[in-house]
């Protein structure tokens, strides 16, 4: 494993020389480390690049990590990872991607993740994306996430892209069965000339299914972000989407939450707020002794925490 990969792993996952539990490390499109556990089996796909991860029913408290790193320009990595989560399992999945380039050539990672959650299973999915290096080549990460949640399954997604990625298009879609819950918390920071586009499509198909989608973004300098969410209530269900964005300098944000109620007992709410940092927030922190710059950084750190 390259030193750059080690540095990226520290940033995108809690890697401190080793992983706890099952893992697969992908470096420039190749596997550089894999360990399965008794309950979590990781296998290479036979028909396309990527993995099949089988989590046995009733597995509790285990973690599986599948980070991907691109360490130089002129790499266009495409990977398909499928997760099969057995009934009643309760696990943590740590994904994440780091892209590093020191040249003018582009580097891209496109991870397509599919989650099949069995009845009553519970997954916490952590995903962190970063871009590093001084190269002028574009760093792109374009994740696609598709989830199917069976009865009473719970998927909690915590995703963050805090700087360094020049282009990103995120596509997340999910179909929920009866009693299933999807909680999404997304944070995106763009700077300079970066762009980020995020799309969500959630179909609430089962009785008492629910989604809570919270996206917080900060667009600085000349960066541009777009948010589009579609929540479709096909059954008695609850749906909530919230897109909060802070814009500074010449940052631009477009937000378009969509709700579609297809059942009389579908209760759907959306909120979207875009604006610069409130002057009163800066003033309050200055009265505590922070400079204007420190206040702004504190507000943004908190907002994206």
């Amino acid at each position: 494993m390259k030193e750059i990969t080690k540095d990226l792993l520290k940033e995108i996952s809690e890697w401190n020389g080793e992983f706890k539990g099952a893992y697969n490390i992908r470096e420039d499109g190749a596997c550089v480390g894999r360990v399965s556990s008794k309950n979590i089996r990781i296998e290479s796909k036979k028909d396309q690049p990527g993995l099949e991860i089988f989590i046995a029913a009733n597995t509790k408290g285990e973690t599986v990590s599948i980070p991907a790193c691109v360490t130089h320009g002129d790499v266009d990595d495409l990977v398909y990872n499928d997760f099969y989560v057995g009934e009643n399992a309760d696990v943590i999945i740590v994904a994440g991607c780091g892209i590093h380039t020191e040249t003018g050539e582009p580097a891209r990672h496109n991870g397509i993740h599919r989650f099949i959650l069995g009845k009553n299973s519970k997954v916490k999915y952590l995903e962190k994306h970063i871009g590093t290096g001084h190269g002028t080549g574009l760093r792109s990460i374009d994740p696609v996430t598709e989830a199917e949640l069976d009865e009473n399954a719970v998927l909690e997604m915590d995703t963050a892209q805090i700087g360094g990625v020049d282009r990103t298009t995120r596509n997340t879609s999910a179909k929920l069965g009866a009693g299933a819950k999807l909680l999404i918390r997304e944070r995106i920071l763009t700077e300079k000339e970066q762009t980020a586009k995020t799309e969500f499509r959630v179909e609430l198909n089962g009785k008492d299914s629910g989604v809570d989608l919270i996206s917080r973004s900060v667009a600085r300098d000349h960066s541009h972000q777009g948010y589009h969410s579609v929540i479709i209530g096909n059954a008695p269900c609850t749906g909530h989407s919230e897109c909060d964005a802070i814009i500074s300098e010449n940052g631009k944000v477009d937000a378009a939450p969509e709700l579609h109620a297809r059942d009389n007992d579908a209760a759907l709410i959306h909120e979207a707020a875009i604006g610069k940092i409130a002057g009163e927030q800066i003033l309050k922190l200055r009265t505590l002794g922070l400079t204007e710059e420190e206040a702004e950084a504190t507000i943004i750190d908190g907002f994206l925490s």
């Binding site: 927030q281 400079t291 908190g302």
Partner: protein, 241 residues
């Protein structure tokens, strides 16, 4: 000691709010500034904190001219300001805000001490975000707690009673009484409430942009009770008596 000399301030459209106001706040005292709405009390408090910049006049803290010193530096010099309408922050927890106020990490027992002074249980609040999920009373108490955490030489409270319920108000009075008993700084409170006036060492009435009257609390309470003219100018008279 804080000294304001000939402070004037007008709104951006030219309406005079403070008109050559002079005021001295002695060390180690609890001073309550009262008076009718629109008389300039909050403006005065914001000028002391540096949030507003006076059009003319001078401000001295311990005989040092702080007229041209900004909010951040005044805060570092020991001026704290509790906002009448507290600000909310998405993503910043109560603990983080208290630590920003204190300028250091705070152990749970210290947080517990400070928050209990404003009637909040640390266990329930430290991890909560200072956002719209907090009620008006809760956010007000947290605002007051942030200035208590700073423990500075001059603390200015702008209408601390505004927006809090009666139960919280009683606790708030106890907090001020406690601060007064073991006073190691100066407390200035903008208030209309009789119960706050009653715990003051000194009272100043601000009306029409000037100090209409000021003096020791006992004397001033009598004046306020007897002088119907002065009381007549207090729009929240019912709150006073």
């Amino acid at each position: 000691m804080l000294r304001l000399e000939n402070i004037s301030w007008s709104t951006p459209d030219g309406v005079g709010v403070l008109k050559n106001l002079n005021l001295t706040i002695p060390d180690g005292k609890l001073v309550v500034i009262t008076g009718p709405n629109g008389g300039g009390k909050t403006t005065l408090a914001k000028i002391i904190a540096g949030i507003y910049r006076q059009d003319s006049g001078k401000i001295y803290l311990d005989n040092q001219d702080i007229t041209d010193i900004d909010i951040t530096e005044r805060a570092k010099m020991g001026i704290s300001f509790a906002f009448q309408q507290p600000v909310r922050f998405k993503g910043i927890t109560v603990q983080k805000l208290m630590e920003l106020a204190a300028g250091k990490k705070l152990e749970r027992d210290v947080l517990c001490d400070i928050l209990s002074k404003v009637g909040l249980c640390a266990g329930e609040y430290v991890d909560r975000e200072v956002n719209a999920t907090l009620s008006g009373g809760e956010i007000k108490r947290i605002e007051i707690a942030t200035v208590l955490a700073r423990h500075t030489k001059l603390t200015v409270f702008d209408e601390p009673e505004a927006g809090i319920d009666l139960w919280s108000f009683t606790n708030l009075i106890h907090t001020f009484e406690e601060m007064r008993q073991k006073i190691d700084g100066t407390i200035m409170i903008i208030s209309h409430q009789e119960r706050i006036l009653r715990i003051a060492d000194e009272i100043a009435v601000v009306a029409d942009g000037k100090i209409a009257s000021s003096g020791p609390a006992e004397e001033m309470m009598e004046k306020l009770a007897q002088n119907s003219g002065m009381m007549g100018r207090c729009s929240k008279q019912e709150a006073l008596f």
